[in-house]
Each structure stands twice: as C-alpha cells, then as structure tokens.
C-alpha cells in the first residue's frame, strides 16, 4: 500500500509538444482516483509515467515515499490493467496470472495459493486452464485484473479497462472493479474518458484538459461545484447548458438571456454574483434544473418559455431540446409532460443550482 505523488510532472515529446504541463497531484493510501478527460488531455500519458512506461521530462513521481523517475516499471511494485487486456495469448489463464510471480521467483505453492484466491474472488476458477482466445471480453478483463491482484502491488493502474466492452458488460464490470477495490483496497489510479465511470468509481476525480488538471474533487463536489467551464461541461450527461447572459440589477439581481428573458438570482447567491453586475457572463444550468412547471415549486425557481425543437423520450424522463437565440439548450422533464416539436413549452429554471462563468477566465465564480 502506498501514496502516489506527482510534483510538477511534465511530459514533453520531440518537437516541444507538451502532453502534460507540470501537474501536481497527491493520491492517498488506499484511495481510488480516476483521471478523466477528453482524448489527448494527457491522462493516459500521466498514468504511463506513473507506470514507468513513459520517460518523465520534468518534475517527480513518488510512489510509497520514493522518487521513481528512474526506476524501471518492474521495480515500481505496480500492476496495470490495459484497455485491450494484454493477456499473453500462448499462456493459459493460470499461467497469465502466475507469470509475474514466476519472474519474481515466488515458491510454487505460494503462486498456486495467490492465483486460486484471486480466481475465486473474480469468479474465474473454472477458466484457469483456458487460453485467452477461448474467453469473452468480460472474462479476459477479469483475468487481466486477476494478473494485477495476485502481485499484491503497492498501486493498481487501470488504463481505460472497460472501453472495449459492450455497454451492458461495462456497467457490470464497473461494479466488479468497485467490489474488488472494496475487498483489496490498494491505491488505484484509473484512467477513463467516460465521466459516468469516473463518477461511479472514484473516491476523487481528477479532470484533465490539454495537459493540465482542471479540478480535483469528490464526484459530487465536481458535479455540484465545478471550478471551470470545462469541468462543468464535461461532468454530467446530458452536459450542462451554457447561455450567454448579462448580469443586471432590475429590482434585484437578475441574469438576462439573449432573448430578453430575465431570471432572478436567488437571495443566497446575490452576495456572490453581485460584484459581477453589469458584466456579460455565461449562465451554466444543468438539464435537470430545467424542468416542467410543477405545482409545488420551491423558492428560487423561475419560469421561461421554450420553443421546442426536438423531444427525446428516455423512459424515466424526457429530454427536450430547444434554442435560445441560437444556443442549443436541453431540459429534462417528466415523461408525461406534453412537449411537442415546434410548440412552446413553459419550463422552470431552478436558479438555486445556477452557475455563473467568467467569459475571460472560464472560471466558475
């Protein structure tokens, strides 16, 4: 078990392209941290630098209290699960799981015990004699996890392990990974581009973008208190709506949309947003905070009229898409709401959950 620490870590490729631009991150013992972000944000490069598969151009990587910049992967006491499983195709499941232990000259009975224990935990005992090609995608990923678990390493690294699985299996394996971490609470760094995976698995989520860390926090914290426009837009599905507004004082602090609609800022946010009076900013509001008009609405809810463009019934909810002055907006309404394309729908905006974003700094104020 170990802490992982990244201090001013830089990855620069030939030609001066920086994939990771001096990031700092502290990962606690037993913690499950997910690095999430779009393609090319530097999350996989960061993981590979922790693993020792990429040279570190600058800064320091610490594992378990030691700087490991120049330590080869095999001496870092880490285990990694890859997106395409990376099982040795000519070896049986048992041999795959035992390979690392054999190389480390573990006694045979110890290897047998560890592999059996891991196989039991992952429910792959009947598969131990099979070759990888005789396994399904989910089974292969379990074996890959088994190969990591038997080593009992200081740190588990997962590089988009569920991306090759179909949607149903992905959900199932996600639960299994969480269960395994509960049983074997090893420090884990997990990379994914799927924000749902990040939210469901992580103790803390690290949102990366263009080689920097945008925000680090617990899933709920990121969801409810995003630090930047990028995090606000990346976390949550459907994504948060962003509308250009003017902050005005019109018998109380309000934000005025491009179509003239004025929405009052709730009293508890007036102190926070007051200093921005007179500025053009961006209003961020999640689709679930734009709903049908309800009879028992709480304070801070404002009404607005939306010209419905597309209606997407999802079963337990319906997504209503419309435009406000050319900006696409999505609302999440009750499936019984009578929303039809090309008709107006009255919506409630829960301004208690509004965010204001500075257009210059892209920071949530």
């Amino acid at each position: 078990m170990a802490e992982v620490s990244l201090r001013k870590v830089v990855k620069e490729y030939e030609g001066g392209v920086q994939a990771v631009k001096g990031i700092d991150l502290e990962i606690g013992d037993h913690e499950f941290v997910v690095l999430v972000g779009p393609s090319g944000c530097g999350k996989s490069t960061t993981l590979r630098m922790i693993a020792g598969l990429e040279d570190i151009s600058g800064g320091e990587v610490w594992i378990g209290g030691d700087v490991v910049n120049d330590v080869p992967p095999r001496d870092r006491d880490i285990a990694m699960v890859f997106q395409n499983y990376a099982l040795y195709p000519h070896m049986s499941v048992f041999e795959n799981m035992a390979f690392g232990l054999k190389l480390r000259k573990f006694p045979k009975d110890e290897i047998q015990r560890r592999v059996s224990d891991a196989a039991r935990m992952l429910d792959i005992t009947p598969l131990l004699d099979r070759k990888p090609k005789a396994l399904s995608g989910g089974q292969r990923q379990r074996v890959a996890m088994g190969r990591a678990i038997v080593r009992n390493p200081k740190v588990f690294l997962f590089d988009e392990p569920l991306s090759n699985l179909d949607a149903k299996l992905r959900v199932q394996m996600r639960t299994e990974i969480k269960k395994v971490h509960q049983l074997v609470p090893t420090t884990t760094v997990y990379v994914t581009h799927d924000q749902v995976e990040a939210m469901t698995l992580a103790d803390r989520v690290v949102v990366m973008n263009q080689g920097i860390i945008e925000q680090v926090g617990a899933p709920q914290e990121l969801y409810h208190n995003p630090a930047t426009r990028f995090v606000a837009g990346f976390i949550g599905s459907p994504a948060m709506n962003f509308l250009p507004v003017s902050v005005i004082d019109d018998g109380g602090l309000k934000v005025q949309l491009a179509n003239g609609t004025k929405l009052a800022v709730p009293p508890q946010k007036v102190d926070r947003y007051g200093p921005h009076k007179g500025k053009k900013m961006t209003l961020g509001i999640r689709p679930e905070h734009l709903t049908e008009v309800r009879s028992n609405e709480k304070a801070g809810v404002q009404h607005m009229v939306a010209p419905v463009d597309v209606v997407e019934p999802m079963g337990m909810e319906t997504l209503v898409h419309f435009f406000i002055d050319g900006v696409a907006v999505c609302a999440r309404v009750d499936p019984l709401t009578p929303a039809r394309p090309n008709e107006n729908l009255e919506l409630s905006a829960d301004m208690n959950n509004m965010h204001l974003i500075d257009d210059q700094t892209h920071k949530v104020v």
Binding site: P72, R74, M80, A86, L87, Y88, F99, L103, R104, R151
Partner: protein, 298 residues
C-alpha cells in the same frame, strides 16, 4: 407502398442479385483458367524431372516412344546415388551448411527484428529500411568483391565460407519478415510483461518468440531455402569434392565434359528437392501467416 411498386422493387433486387451471381461466376471461371495455366507451366518441369529420374539411360536416349511416359520404370538412379559416397557427402554438406545458416540467420534476425521493432531507439526506422535495402543488392554483383574477402580470410574451398556468406543473404529478409510480425504484436503485451517484471530478453524469449512462432517459421523456411538451394556462391567458392554441397555437387559429379547422366541428374534433383517440398508442405500455413502478418497490423 403499393403492391405494384413493391413488386417492381423486388424484381430490381432479384435482377441485381442475379447480375452479382453472374459476375462472380465469370470471375471464378477466369481464376480457374489463369490458375490452370500457372499450374501447368509450374508443374511441367518437376513432372518431367520425376519421369526422367525413373528411366534407364537407354530409355532416355531412345528416339522412339513418348518422352512424357515411363515404359520401364526403375529406381536404379536413386539407389546408385543413395549408395554413392560422394553424393552422400554432398547431401550431408548441404544439411550441415543449411542447418548452420538457419541457426545463425535466425539468431541474428530475431534479435535484430526485436530491437528494431520494439526497443524504439533513435534511428531504428532508418536501420530497418537499410536492412531491407541490402536484400535488394543482387548476389551476382557481390561475389567478385566477396571472393577477395573470402580469399583474405583463407576460407576459399571450405564449406565454412557458405556458413559465413549465406546469412548475408538470409538475414535481411528474415529480419524484415520478423519486424512485420513483431510489429503486429500489440505494444501492451511487452508493456504488461515489463510491469510483470520481465527483462527485454525474457520478453523476447517468453512472450515474443512463442507468440511470433508463425513468423519465425516463415523466416526459418526462407533461410533454409537460401542455404539449401543456392548455386552461385557454392559454384564460385567451392572446388574440391569433399567440400561441395548438393547443388554444385550434382553438376560437377554427374556432368562430365559433354556427357550428361540425365537419369541420375534428375534423380539427384528429386532427392535434393525433397526436403524443401516436405518442409513447405507441412509448414505452408505458417509460412503464409508469417508473410502476411504485416498486412493486418492493427
């Protein structure tokens, strides 16, 4: 959609399907015709070789009868050759030279291909291209300068000269085949092994060689063919009977001036061709898999 429109659409679909079927049939007929020409052109010489090897000298030189048929088949040519000490020596020399060439070429090619394909050092791409370019130089251009070198090394008229020279022909192509094969193995496999605690040599021997076996077999077959079938270098560098290999031994032993022992020559060719034929027959699938590995690199 009305019934009439639906019927018309169905008729159009059926006509398209029929047209596709017709095209496929024509393509198949074309393929069979082309392949038949190829098979006839390719198999006629070996067929004639086998037929002639089964004839007596009298039947070969007889002016009557169809030369494509054997009237009094005999294995005398084979028996005489098999019991001839010089032919046995040529055969064993060929076996020894080929075995050495295969072992040396594959050892070099596997190590070179692994380092060029996987170790990602500066200039590896250029070196890989350079290795392949050396394969494009015709051996017939090289044997005169090589003669100087071999003479300097005092290896003329010694089978070791072939053990030294044949790998220069086999290694570039074998390395190229192996680079393609190693390149098709997912990078994550060596990364997983590195994290599991393997050294590069352990990765090569415990992961890459077993996984790339079809490629290794393909390269081995190529090295074998180079060692077994080469004619020019043995002809240029070997003279004495006890040092000769099969390809030049047949020529020097069975052609005396303008006297050609055709029956024995053909029998010797059949016996000489047998090992490659057997090897290709049993390992053909691996050979094809090895040569096409780079094509499906994903």
């Amino acid at each position: 959609m009305s019934a009439t429109t639906a019927d018309a659409a169905r008729a159009r679909a059926a006509s398209r399907a029929g047209s596709l079927e017709r095209q496929r049939r024509w393509a198949l007929w074309g393929s069979y015709a082309a392949l038949s020409c190829f098979v006839v052109a390719f198999l006629t010489p070996p067929f004639y070789m086998i037929i002639t090897s089964l004839k007596t000298s009298a039947e070969i030189s007889a002016e009557k009868g169809n030369p494509w048929l054997v009237y009094t088949p005999t294995f005398d040519n084979f028996i005489e050759l098999a019991t001839s000490p010089s032919f046995q020596r040529y055969f064993l020399n060929s076996v020894w030279v080929t075995a050495m060439v295969v072992v040396i070429s594959m050892a070099i090619a596997i190590l070179a291909a692994f380092s060029l394909a996987r170790m990602g050092f500066k200039g590896s791409q250029t070196i890989a291209t350079g290795v392949f370019l050396t394969y494009l130089v015709p051996p017939s251009l090289l044997f005169i300068p090589l003669f100087q070198i071999v003479g300097f090394l005092n290896l003329l008229d010694n089978t070791w000269v072939l053990v030294l020279l044949f790998p220069t022909l086999a290694v570039p192509f074998c390395t190229w085949i192996m680079i393609g094969y190693f390149g098709s193995i997912p990078k994550e496999l060596d990364e997983a092994a590195l994290i599991d605690g393997a050294s590069y040599m352990q990765i090569l021997f415990q992961i890459f060689i077993p996984v790339a076996l079809p490629g290794i077999i393909a390269a081995t077959i190529f090295a074998f063919t180079v060692g077994w079938g080469a004619f020019l270098y043995p002809l240029a560098f070997l003279y004495k009977g006890e040092q000769l290999v099969l390809t030049v031994g047949i020529v020097s032993e069975l052609i005396r001036g303008d006297v050609f022992a055709w029956g024995k020559i053909m029998a010797a060719c059949v016996m000489g061709a047998l090992p490659p034929i057997l090897i290709y027959t049993f390992l053909m699938d691996y050979y094809i898999a090895g040569l096409t590995a780079g094509a499906t690199k994903g």
